[in-house]
């Protein structure tokens, strides 16, 4: 190509930078079956581990007999709590400041809890032997209802901490109590309710669900006794944190631990925490001197590794008759299961639930959250969510609809009357956040106009009249949801995990030929980082994205970072990427000026080159500059062209969006059909619109599954009712609605490229849109709030309770 005559547009297009619908780099290997996931790894002499798990929800372990298992040919070891105890590894710390049993000792606290770990030469033998382990139990009464956790006479679950009155987050008021978290102004909120013209109060529950990535959690541990080095490949959304925690726990120096997260088959928050399987594989490798692989099956995944939600939110809004909100009060009962293994930043036991004032200008608010133990699997992770933000968004978006119903106002109109106005940003919320930017009215209006909202309401009214006349059994619901997210943890001043500050990083090296290797502290599990980070680099330093290789997940080579979850990669590592590029660019400018024999103030950057100001024909491309940087740097300048940036964001980012769901429900069957789903997202600067749309499609599908059918339910004795794909609802292509996407762009003022993050928005905003549609459809029959999930049977039952079943 001719670098001089090429048009600016052609040069720009060749970069495939910001805003380009660049095809994914990752797809080349994934479409050919050449991804490398953990279970694909095969090492010489590798063994397989498998668990024996508790059939009971709550029981005392009287004895464990492993003799039959050990006698099976091919079994090399069986680990129990007694074996881990001398190593001080029978318990491990959780990310939430609690401890969790790696293998159950005296007691089992949930069905599926890990009791023994069998290590054998192949996975079939390990499974056979795990079945031969004999455990004698004394069954105890199970506690499954969080509302009964702190009742008098409730069974005490955690005997290991029953006398501790002080937990990781303050006072405990009952042996089954974990923490109380309080935020906001109690007094002014009480006054707002005292003086309110209108109030609503509703218990809004968000059921227990599971992130359920298609690849389960798995790892391979290999301990080299000679070198004293441990290598662990695993499904880790946060590999660097895993290495640090492993070093602290095991006593192996951090530089002798190599943690590698290869390709990951989806995470959605399920793969943030540390699980007993990872620990047991490591111990087993140390004990046997051979690599040990652990792969959980789907039932184990759904019943033992981290669940999400299980939040029960008693929600009150105070308002004027004219529909202006004046106060918000929420009390949450949070079911954390048997151990507090939430994956929130350590100072935030209820995550960022205090985003619950949502998109609305509440003058005052008060929130309390009580966490309790139950005989269920531990977790409470941020499933496609930035730390309890999905729960908060569901809470406020459902409550606004309930208020609209009480006021006799249209739900969209009520939202419009209460939105934070554009000129109020940066906006300080009553619960302590500083929203960076937003233009809610514009986004909502665009959504309403696009779907023809008024016409839909007219159609709905006509259908209701026809229903009343007995001419149809079909009703129509219009679900409106307007969410504000809070993503991108840090800043490190208020976000850390076990003392590890939450920043992120990028290290970029330009090779002499102008090819680039870039490494980040995050870890994609499908978010397309290899494609999109390269686009940022392309735009920042003018080297085509195709010449940039992005690498993450290897703690030996990647700079330290906190990983990928909570939509944090774009706000943190993408910012670090831009900042590292700018350091490189500053040096490149010096080199260009030297080559062009002018002062560095007299050159300027232009797409893919530095040129002499006012003389566009005199320029040096980034490729020329890279070669010179290594082979003939200007006097006084070090050779090389690379930079690293550790970016501690000054604030979080606040993506938002307006979603509208149109649903038709057949009351005779309870079957709900999504006729139309419109999703407008504002995630600030758009790096790759194709990938944004893909993220929105996927997040909406997960939201659809949650709202319309998913639940990890337990019976009264603690049996998991449905922890396989037989029962746990994952929609297929047939049930999944079609998605319509749209956008506005309100850049983040503090992010180097103005981007905010998008991966979780559709899940955060989608769930209330579906649920509001169901509730909206049945509201004219008298429904105020129907709990999720809205499967056909439950919708039918709700209609029956409203007297609508003949």
């Amino acid at each position: 190509m001719n670098e001089i005559s090429e048009t600016r547009e052609a040069r720009e297009a060749r970069l495939q930078g910001l805003g380009c619908k660049r095809k994914r780099v990752e797809d080349i290997r994934f479409t050919q079956g050449k991804g490398s996931y953990v279970d694909d790894l095969k090492l010489p002499g590798m063994l397989f581990g498998d668990f024996h798990r508790s059939p009971y929800g709550h029981a005392r372990v009287k004895s464990i007999d492993t003799s039959k298992a050990k006698a099976v040919p091919g079994v090399l070891a069986v680990l129990t709590a007694a074996d881990l105890k001398p190593l001080k590894l029978d318990w491990m710390p959780t990310l939430a400041g609690d401890v969790q049993a790696v293998l159950a000792g005296d007691k089992v606290l949930f069905q599926g809890q890990e009791i023994a770990f069998v290590v054998a030469t192949d996975r079939y033998i390990a499974a056979d032997a795990a079945d031969l382990i004999e455990v004698e139990y004394e069954e105890l009464p199970a506690l499954v209802d969080p509302f009964k956790a702190m009742a008098e006479g409730a069974p005490i679950l955690r005997e290991d901490i029953k006398d501790k009155t002080e937990g990781a987050h303050g006072k405990r008021k009952h042996p089954n109590h974990i923490f109380t978290w309080e935020i906001g102004d109690h007094e002014t909120t009480d006054l707002a309710f005292r003086d309110a013209e209108v109030t609503i109060k509703e218990l809004i529950s968000y059921q227990r669900v599971h992130p359920c990535p298609l690849e389960t959690c798995q790892s391979v541990a290999s301990f080299d006794k000679i070198k004293g080095e441990l290598t662990v490949w695993g499904t880790f959304q946060a590999p660097h944190v895993v290495r640090t925690v492993a070093a602290i726990l095991s006593g192996i120096p951090e530089h002798k631990i190599h943690v590698i997260a290869p390709d990951i088959g989806g995470g959605f928050g399920n793969k943030v925490g540390v699980y007993p399987g990872y620990v047991c594989a490591i111990v087993a490798s140390i004990v046997t001197g051979r690599p040990v692989k652990w792969v959980e099956d789907r039932i184990e995944n759904l019943s033992a590794t981290a669940f999400a939600r299980d939040y029960h939110m008693t929600t009150e809004i105070a308002a004027t008759k004219a529909g202006k909100v004046t106060g918000l009060r929420v009390h949450v009962l949070a079911d954390h299961g048997a151990f507090d293994a939430c994956a929130d930043p350590s100072k935030w036991p209820a995550g960022f639930f205090n985003i619950v004032t949502g998109s609305y200008d509440f003058p005052t608010a008060h929130v309390t959250v009580d966490g309790v133990y139950t005989n269920k699997a531990p977790g409470g992770v941020a499933y496609r969510c930035s730390f309890r933000v999905t729960e908060a968004a569901y809470c406020i978006e459902r409550a606004m609809d309930i208020l609209a119903q009480k006021l006799g106002l249209d739900p969209a109109e009520l939202r419009m009357r209460n939105f934070i106005r554009r000129e109020q940003f940066p906006y300080h919320s009553a619960l302590g956040w500083e929203y960076d930017s937003g233009d809610y009215h514009t986004a909502m209006q665009k959504a309403l106009d696009t779907v023809g909202y008024q016409a839909l309401r007219a159609e709905q009214r006509a259908k209701q009249e026809a229903f009343r006349r007995g001419e149809t059994r079909e009703v129509m619901g219009i679900g409106v949801s307007f969410f504000t997210e809070i993503v991108g943890a840090g800043p490190s001043k208020n976000c850390d995990i076990l003392g590890i500050a939450m920043f992120d990083s990028a290290e970029i090296r330009i090779h002499p030929t102008g090819a680039v290797i870039a490494r980040m502290g995050t870890k994609s599990q499908g978010q397309s980082h290899e494609t999109t980070y390269a686009q940022i680099i392309a735009s920042e330093i003018g080297i085509p994205a195709d010449d940039v290789m992005v690498e993450e997940g290897n703690t030996d080579t990647a700079p330290y970072g906190l990983g990928t979850y909570g939509s944090r990669s774009t706000p943190t590592a993408a910012a670090a990427t831009a900042m590292a590029c700018r350091k490189i660019k500053a040096k490149a400018q010096m080199i260009a000026a030297h080559l062009l024999e002018v002062h560095h103030d007299d050159v300027e950057f232009d797409i893919d080159r530095f040129r002499v100001k006012g003389m566009p024909e005199r320029f040096k491309t980034m490729k020329d500059i890279a070669w010179t940087a290594y082979n003939a740097p200007p006097p006084g300048l070090e050779p090389g062209l690379e930079a690293v940036s550790y970016y501690d964001p000054p604030n979080m980012t606040y993506p938002f969006g307006a979603y509208i769901c149109v649903m038709d429900i057949d009351l005779d069957t309870g079957v709900a059909k999504v006729r139309r789903f419109y999703a407008l997202d504002d995630c600030g600067t758009r790096i790759n619109p194709m990938i944004i749309e893909g993220q929105v499609h996927g997040g909406l599908t997960e939201a659809f599954a949650i709202a319309m059918g998913q639940e990890i339910a337990y019976d009264e004795i603690g049996n998991v009712k449905g922890a396989s794909f037989m029962d746990f609802f994952l929609p297929t292509a047939v049930e999944t609605p079609k998605w319509e996407t749209d956008f506005t762009v309100t850049p983040s003022p503090h992010h180097p490229i103005g981007a905010k993050g998008v991966g979780e928005s559709p899940n955060v905003g989608g769930v209330p849109a579906f649920s509001n549609a169901v509730n909206d459809a049945l509201a004219f029959l008298g429904a105020t709030h129907i709990q999720m999930p809205h499967d056909a049977w439950r919708i039918w039952k709700a209609a029956e309770a409203l007297g609508a079943q003949g």
Binding site: D27, Q32, D39, R123, P213, S528, G698, L730
Partner: protein, 166 residues
């Protein structure tokens, strides 16, 4: 455990192997033949990540024993690209239409779609959705998977790429 000898064809190559009677086909493919493109996502034959083409049918390879593959002709994702590295139109379509994210379901999706297009070369959107109902995806929401299959169908039929993209 005593092993049984099996002979079959995988991706056009003759394979002879000794397997335990209880070895699942998916484990045989992944661990004995090192064809790790076929994935395992569940234990109950729901997710379809392990789908392979088996004697002209789509089969979930976690549901068959390897010994049942005696004499069978199997094609896996590793056998989809041409010998010269040319991608199959489905592989191309999944990339062009952004039909994948984490990539874990993709080999199964492509193998199922391959058979679907043999059975019905010009499927409607509804026929694609029904035809793909045995394969779960957690990332994409299926919309772009449908478009990827439409792209491939059009390309195989020789439509212009413009039409294929629509």
């Amino acid at each position: 455990m005593a092993k049984t000898a099996i002979a079959l064809t995988v991706n056009g190559e003759a394979v002879e192997a000794l397997v335990e009677p209880r070895t699942l086909l998916v484990h045989f493919l992944r661990e004995q033949l090192n064809l790790t493109g076929t994935h395992i996502g569940c234990d109950t034959t729901h997710c379809g990540a392990c789908t392979v083409d088996f004697d002209g049918r789509s089969v979930k390879s976690c549901t068959l024993f390897a010994v049942q593959a005696e004499g069978a002709e199997i094609r896996t994702i590793e056998g989809m690209a041409g010998a010269d590295g040319t991608l199959h139109p489905l592989q191309e379509g999944f990339r062009e239409m952004h039909g994948l994210q984490c990539g874990f379901c993709t080999p199964g999706m492509i193998m199922r779609a391959y058979r679907l297009l043999q059975e019905n070369p010009r499927p409607t959107e509804d026929e694609i959705r029904t035809g793909m109902a045995g394969n779960l995806c957690r990332c994409t929401g299926y919309q772009n998977i449908v478009r990827a299959i439409q792209f491939a169908a059009a390309k195989i039929a020789g439509d212009s790429l413009q039409e294929a993209a629509e």
